[in-house]
């Protein structure tokens, strides 16, 4: 059957897009929440570049939607120049039309002048690079365990293990999750894990209590050692001091999203898909020194620092922010803190994270891909060390709930 890429301009086809989303992500119940996606695109209408949002669909001759791709624009500051770049997102194609995914992505790269993508799926990355995007590098991923309740019981040999297994025999249905699943988009792994049954029996309650107690004690010690005397406070919103901080960072860092106060108000305001968030800030005599934006997922089990940005070189500020973030996540009952970030002068270093009890995760890392029309801008953007970037800055975190 003939399939063509068309601009998504007919509201009556939105139902078809929702159907493709549901069929493409059968393991992700949230996609049934059509209102969420409607609200997402409505939210983007309040962005200053709303007129440059593109959506395309793959349409059969019988007017059936079999694929979708959106392009969302943002302002970036590259080598001191304000530049608009788009990011592909909400990309899905029904399996039997998989070949045509290439046509959708090709339409994207032909339409947009500049592109910045933060992706995880090898298939998508391969298609993007084939169409001219260049891999700038990988973002880091570190996690910190606050509560062991979601952990399956490890294999303990001997009579103790046998005793514990007898106490916690898994239900047969749980075994399904032991099989290797498909590659999932950013954030899906965690959310699917939160919703799906665990593969093995949970830890017995007394063991959980013991381990959680030990984690709390270790945390208190680690956060105490890492304390720098700086105080992170919770803010209600983003005032003009965020404009000043952004300009100070942009004067030093060659590539970054334009995160002034207006952007942050839009990004994390009441109509944002990630609302509610907690905003933390550290101030000094010279004004705002850094801030963090924290999100607890709807399940309450995962905590995400969506943004953590400090004056370049002020790792003490970054440590104070992340330390306070851990305390807030713990108070909220979060089990695990998942921090995806780019190592830069405006964020934390690996040592800082270790000191705060985070462990690096090698898999499930996001890859930044860039394609800028101007060769000079592209040259700067393809060097990851030129960037300051947080996962919440763009599309990769738009779907975190």
């Amino acid at each position: 059957m003939k399939v063509a890429v068309r601009p998504h301009e007919r509201p009556e086809l939105e139902e078809g897009v929702a159907r493709v989303r549901i069929l493409s992500y059968p393991y992700f119940p949230e996609v049934h929440d059509v209102d969420y996606y409607t609200a997402f695109y409505r939210w983007f209408e309040s962005h200053p570049l709303a007129g440059q949002v593109h959506r395309w669909i793959l349409l059969t001759e019988e007017d059936e939607v079999v694929g979708h791709l959106a392009a969302t624009p943002q302002y970036y500051r590259i080598n001191g120049e304000r530049v608009v770049a788009h990011t592909p997102g909400d990309f899905m194609v029904l399996p039997q039309y998989a070949f045509h995914a290439l046509a959708l992505m090709r339409r994207y790269y032909r339409t947009v002048e500049n592109s910045l993508a933060v992706d995880m799926l090898p298939n998508v990355i391969a298609v993007e690079t084939r169409l001219g995007a260049e891999v700038a590098g990988e973002l880091q991923y570190a996690a910190k365990l606050l509560d062991v309740s979601r952990l399956p019981m490890p294999n303990i040999p001997g009579p103790i293990g046998r005793f514990l297994k007898r106490q916690n025999r898994p239900a047969p249905a749980d075994e399904r999750m032991d099989q290797a699943g498909p590659e999932l988009p950013s954030g899906v792994e965690e959310q699917a894990a939160a919703l799906a049954p665990r593969p093995r029996a949970p830890l017995p309650t007394p063991v959980k209590g013991l381990l959680n107690g030990a984690l709390r004690v270790a945390d208190k010690a680690m956060l105490g050692t890492a304390a720098s005397g700086l105080k992170a406070e919770v803010l209600e919103g983003f005032d003009e001091s965020f404009d000043v901080l952004f300009e100070k960072i942009a004067a030093v860092v060659p590539c970054l999203p334009e995160k002034d106060a207006a952007f942050l108000r839009w990004r994390y305001g009441p109509t944002s898909p990630q609302t509610p968030v907690t905003v933390l800030a550290v101030r000094g005599r010279e004004g705002l020194l850094g801030y963090a934006v924290l999100k607890v997922t709807g399940s309450g089990q995962d905590g995400y620092p969506l943004d953590l940005t400090v004056l370049p070189g002020r790792r003490d500020v970054a440590r104070a922010l992340l330390g306070e973030a851990v305390r807030i996540f713990r108070r909220a009952g979060v089990s695990i803190v998942r921090y995806r970030y780019l190592r830069s002068s405006a964020s934390l270093g690996a040592d800082d994270l270790r000191r705060l009890g985070f462990f690096p995760r090698k898999g499930r890392r996001n890859v930044m891909l860039v394609k800028f029309k101007d060769p000079g801008l592209h040259e700067a953007a393809k060097d990851l060390s030129n960037w300051a970037y947080s996962i919440g800055d763009g599309e990769a975190a738009f779907w975190t709930r």
């Binding site: 070949f99 045509h100 995914a101 391969a126 084939r130």
Partner: protein
Amino acid sequence: MAISNGDARTEIRGWLKENVTGSGEVADDYALIENGMLTSLQTVELVMFMEERFDIVVEDEELDEENFGSIDAIAGLVESKAAA
């Protein structure tokens, strides 16, 4: 570089067998895309193979159903590119 349609057909058939169909045989006029056999990623990999093996450059606009719809079509594309 002159490439006969037969050469290209044999090479593409071999690549598909190794990377897509496994032990299954595919007729030269079998509708690869219509039958959902060739995904985007496989097309990307096939293009990389073609460019390397036949010393040709496949343009983005040539990545469509018409040129990749069957082994016959792909072989035809290779032949026309090599002759250009």
